[in-house]
């Protein structure tokens, strides 16, 4: 298959899935502790930078950014997007099987839809080939093709 992903590239996509969702969860937990920030109290954003949840959230989001950009260097934006959405599924499943929270039928339906979305996109090509890029991509294929 042309443009088949290497195992290391699957690892990058898994990192994209995990870091964004866990990072966002940490951030929202931290911001709940910091309190309401409005235009009159923007200095509270500065305080937020010293909250441990916000700090760990930021570290994970930096990791997300690095893996996301790596993924975008060899795949289309519309190919990587469902991977980021899959992060929500990971969070929901973690809360179900690790924290033993109840998942409503709505949430199970949401999980099912996102899993289908990942399946649709993963079944197609990871990259749109543009005419001017053919030569470069062929070179990459010969290097990466196994």
């Amino acid at each position: 298959m042309k443009h088949a992903l290497k195992p290391s590239q699957y690892l990058i996509l898994i990192a994209v899935m995990l870091t964004a969702s866990v990072g966002d969860t940490l951030l929202s937990r931290g911001m709940a502790q910091v309190g309401t920030v409005d235009l009159q109290h923007l200095h509270l954003l500065w305080n937020a930078l010293f909250n441990p949840f916000v700090i760990s959230g930021i570290v994970l989001l930096i990791g997300f950014f690095a893996s996301y950009m790596t993924a975008l260097s060899w795949a289309d934006l519309t190919f990587v997007m469902p991977a980021t959405a899959f992060g929500y599924v990971v969070v929901a499943l973690l809360s179900r099987f690790w924290l033993h929270e109840h998942l409503s039928a709505y949430r199970w339906a949401g999980i099912g839809l996102i899993v289908c979305a990942v399946g649709f996109v993963a079944g197609g090509p990871s990259r749109t080939e543009h005419e001017d890029e053919h030569h470069e991509l062929d070179l990459m294929d010969s290097g990466a093709g196994r």
Partner: protein, 130 residues
């Protein structure tokens, strides 16, 4: 404690965050596409070489600026809008906007399966927040 925000404030915060995210992601995707495979760059010139290649792209810097603004806009939005509304609304708007922008500006081949994926993700994200 949430302060009650007007519908106008709520939706302009949500729209603003989504717009910054879309702009940022399209600029960054365009910069990465221009650079070529980062894994290959890293093999050739090391991690620092890859970081240097990324940071020397003006398109990337513009995208990163949008993402930084998006980050602070998100913190602000989360402080006036409930997470259960803000997160799915921003995510859905961003996914739809990204697909449209990727088709128009990045000339990605957004075929039927990808449109279907965008639709499923949007509905899925909204359902997950229930």
């Amino acid at each position: 404690m949430m302060k009650p925000a007007t519908a106008m404030n709520t939706w302009s915060a949500i729209g603003g965050v989504a717009a910054l995210a879309i702009l940022g992601e399209v600029l960054i995707a365009s910069a990465m596409r221009g650079l070529g495979d980062l894994d290959i760059i890293r093999e050739k010139s090391g991690l620092m070489g890859a970081i240097r290649a990324v940071l020397s792209s003006p398109v990337f810097l513009a995208g990163a600026l949008c993402m930084a603004l998006n980050f602070f806009a998100m913190l602000y939005a989360l402080s006036i809008v409930d997470l259960s509304l803000a997160a799915p609304a921003i995510a859905s708007l961003t996914y739809i906007g990204n697909a449209i922008a990727a088709k128009i500006f990045l000339h990605e081949n957004v075929d039927r399966r990808r449109w279907l994926a965008v639709l499923f993700v949007c509905v899925g994200v909204v359902l997950l927040s229930h």
